[in-house]
Homo-oligomer: 192 residues x 2
Amino acid sequence: MKKVGTKSKILDAAQDCVQRVGANAMSYQDISDAVGIQKASIHYHFPTKERLIEALIDRYSERFFSLVQSIVESELSPETKLRRYGLLFEAMLSEGERGKVCLCGILGAELATMSPVATDNIRRFFRENEKRLAEILDEGRREGAFKFEGDSRSMATLVFSLLEGAMLVVRADEGTQRFGAIMRQMIKLVCP
Amino acid sequence: MKKVGTKSKILDAAQDCVQRVGANAMSYQDISDAVGIQKASIHYHFPTKERLIEALIDRYSERFFSLVQSIVESELSPETKLRRYGLLFEAMLSEGERGKVCLCGILGAELATMSPVATDNIRRFFRENEKRLAEILDEGRREGAFKFEGDSRSMATLVFSLLEGAMLVVRADEGTQRFGAIMRQMIKLVCP
DNA sequence: GTCTATATAGAGATAGAC
DNA sequence: GTCTATCTCTATATAGAC
């Protein structure tokens, strides 16, 4: 049994809110309502909104890469790894009423209003994802499971952009199943 | 010589701002500064911010589809059509200091805070783009210029998501040239 | 049409009691 | 650690003079 402190609850509520409406539309009042704590109390844990957002990115990145790493290091086939990777994103779209998108994806859209530290870490999230994806794609191509032209890093950037973009585009149609269709189409493109 | 009225100047300033920072971070003060008009005067032309955003989407969609239509109806090769289509997005990234992204792309990220009318029209923008893109892809496949599995509509959704996502991802790296790399990689995937 | 002045609401943040 | 109370700033929006 892991104790869930207030700090963690604040992060949970803030993350949920940001993934739905974005950082600029998320307010301390929203967190206050969700956690059942006064607005002022939030400042005890996170002095400013900027630091709260930065903490959000850190925790999200850590958790996400932990999941990605377990996929990359598994004994699954490259194709299954790619599918599982895509499912990490697809799962977010299914959460709750209208679905969430990737935290760093939505913050990427709001990048111009982020702090320098946040900007750096969002950029790092993008790059690290591309790196892991490139590993999967590269392994798959060497084994003959995948077939594509060009270097695997470019291909990884393409796939990552595709997934981040698909979350936003598909959400406008309230269609989680459309994300799956895009995933399958992507798999068709790289499987010989 | 076309007369450029205040209403048009307001839309220009607002669009520029939204494409850089998003609708939630764009304020009447920003427009006031850019146009050289008082905040209150903006309300004469657009009674509320919601209507201003809706007008923004309408004008942007109309202009964008006019450009897309001229590509679709041209005598260019399917591959060149696809390239030209991608260049419409790439051109935005090159505008000004840190570049802009697609208006409807960034509003798609902020979708949960948009008015119902705006939401509908952003969704329509996505669907219409996919439709035109599907025409290009379908024509290319029939001619043998493109080669891909599945239906052209799924492929169109994939390509559109890819371009919208790439704008956001690439901007974090201040790399316009990376967008071109993704475009080339995408072309490689569909050209036999 | 554009201005000045103002209304009203909400944001993030701080001080100090408990 | 959390509360109440309050501050300051900025946002959108309105009223009425010019």
